[in-house]
Amino acid sequence: MKRPLLTAATVACAMTTGAMSLNVYANEEYKLGLVTFLSGAASGPFGIPAKNAADLVIDAINDGTLPAPIEGKGIDGRMITPVYVDEAGGATKQTSEFRNLVERDGVDAVVGYISSGDCLAIPAVAEELKMLTVLFDCGTPRVFEEADYEYVFRTHSTASMDNIGAARYVHENVPDLESVAGINQNYSWGHDSWRDFTETLKVLRGGDLEITTEQFPKLFAGQYGAEISALQVNSADVIHTSFWGGDTDAFVLQAAARGLLADNQVIFTAGETALNSLGDHLPDGAIIGARGPFGPFAPESELNTWFQTEFTERFGTPPTFPAYHMAHALIGLKLAQDKAGVGASTEEVITAFEGLEFDGPGGRVEMSRGKGHQAATEMVYGRLKRVDGEITFTDITRYPADCVNPPEGAETVEWIKAGMPGAECN
């Protein structure tokens, strides 16, 4: 008689303790470090839209109001408390800030980084401090091509995808293409973008490609008069630019005023951020990319409709690709954490995150590269066309992830030069 009584008491005690600990856990916060540009030239077009998206998505996650297929309140039941950090200041400052987030603020995870320089500097520190880190916007392919990381993830494709897709698009859509010219920023982003674009085009055209001029103005130069003249003097069938943010705006304003955009076929691989503010200056026929299936190219879904509607209502402007990138990073993190289960260790969350496939407002994300830590998504380009004064897109081409992203383990440049073996474009 004593034994069943003891067993019942033990079970009751265990259940009470378990319920109490679950309750205590549910009341805990999930401290999330969020690093994005809050000042400097990259803040307006990139950092602030990303922060706005973080505010919107975190509120929805905490309230449990994100549309299907995302379910549940908070991250594994915990309410997210964001700790924002300004990304301005360079890689050295950011590594210190990262340490502060981990050691002083005690965050559970970090989502951040727009600058490729920061994305190359942070992973080593994340590994050292064993901190789950999701890179949300930077484009350099070097992060997972040059090293393997256990604690670091990136939930969007690299810039290689933008430019391989751009080359495929102009190859297929610009008749009698013989020559190209480029204007790209004078740092790794601009040089890598131009290299991937021209190398892919050479492969697609059997090595036959004339490059009339390659312009690499300083980042945030603002004045492009001489470069525009050089593009006029050295006329080409297509002008390629991977300019972003304020540099895109300045180039569009100055080039449009001088007729360059109307007289030439220009492809803007990251031009989507300029659509809301300077769409009137872009001529019909301009080829626009959004660094993935984002903004006007986002596939129809309940989640995307919610994101676009809520973002526009709350912030007065539609979400651009940095906002989508942030949303994907947060949703990916939540799904991995939820999949790992309540009370899971960081290592268990990492296992859940590796190879994860999920749907964000910008469509399907497959963590299929970089040993399951690097995402691959589809890429979309289209030509701008005004209908009754409204900006729309025509000749929209969607390239599957396996068409424009190097396969697992491949190094981008070598893969392109080898003729992009295994690329699946249909």
């Binding site: 030239a41 312009q215 300083k218 603002g222 001489a226 006029q232 003097v233 300045a250 001088r258």
Partner: protein
């Protein structure tokens, strides 16, 4: 031939832009011996106030041509008002300090102004493109140029002439030159040096602000834009000689032409060429092309 024409026009436009930015910086140094790090913030202030005013102006549906007046007036009012605040509220208490101290003080002003600009206008880009497209474009020799850029050349010539006339042909200008030569003797002769300093700082701040306003129509006005240009402005005034208006003009022309030639002929060295020119000039004339080497007072 087409390329040469492009280099000359592009070089002239860029030089004009550089001169308008640098003129105020070199004037303040020449008279006050202050290497004004906050000059870039006055440039940004002019750009923001001009862009905000143009945005408001066009929202009222008023005559487009008067937007130029709105652009310039807003920048001058903002630049001179804030200049007065900075000079009367802070700098006048620092006069006579070491030049390095003044660099630190004005750097502090720069940081404060950058944050104040963000507090007032936020971090979203501002646009004032209407004046840029209003003037149309000119085509010749197969090239197309924005007429606004030619207007910029005209404005820089006007500013240069006004400064030359003001310094050389007016009574106040002569008083100012006395202060440049020796502020102690000038003071002993009864010249109100403090007043000269105030006026000089206001003119310098006003020109810096005007430069920002004239630049705003061709780009998006974003935080940090003032810091980007201050490095270029320093390169120009160092080449020409700190404190020399003629030096700023020649420095701007050298940098403008060198950069335009590099963009057209050797794009890879575009970034390097400006600082190569500066290094070359300093190697042979450490005081710059037009600054007179002074014996140090002990």
């Amino acid at each position: 031939m087409k390329q040469l024409l492009a280099i000359l026009v592009d070089g002239s436009v860029y030089a004009s832009w550089l001169f308008i930015i640098s003129a105020g910086l070199t004037l303040i140094y020449g008279v006050m011996r202050i290497l004004n790090m906050s000059h870039g913030s006055f440039y940004a202030l002019g750009a923001y106030s001009g862009a905000a005013m143009v945005g408001w102006y066009f929202s009222t549906g008023s005559v487009p041509w008067f937007s130029f007046v709105a652009l310039i007036a807003a920048a001058l009012v903002a630049g001179i008002s804030v200049g007065l605040l900075v000079e009367r509220g802070l700098l006048r208490f620092m006069y006579g300090r070491d030049e390095v101290v003044m660099i630190l003080v004005t750097y502090g002003v720069l940081l404060i102004m950058e944050d104040a600009i963000k507090l007032i206008w936020g971090v979203e880009p501002y646009f004032a493109y209407q004046p840029y497209t209003l003037l149309g474009r000119t085509k010749f020799a197969g090239l197309s140029f924005a007429n606004y850029d030619f207007m910029l050349i005209g404005v820089s010539i006007l500013i240069g002439l006004a400064l030359w006339y003001g310094l050389n042909r007016t009574r106040n200008g002569k008083l100012l030159r006395v202060v440049i030569h020796d502020r102690e003797i000038a003071s002993a002769l009864g010249i109100n040096v403090a007043r000269i300093f105030t006026i000089t700082f206001l003119i310098g701040a006003g020109i810096g602000s005007l430069a920002g306003a004239l630049t705003a129509p061709g780009l998006s006005v974003v935080p940090g834009m003032g810091i980007e240009v201050i490095v270029l402005a320093f390169a120009v005034v160092v080449i020409g000689g700190l404190g020399s208006i003629t030096g700023a003009l020649v420095g701007a022309l050298i940098v403008g032409m060198a950069r335009a030639a590099a963009v057209h002929l050797y794009p890879d060295v575009e970034l390097f060429v400006i600082y190569a020119v500066m290094g070359l000039v300093l190697a042979f004339r450490p005081q710059g092309l037009f600054a007179v080497a002074n014996a140090r007072k002990i």
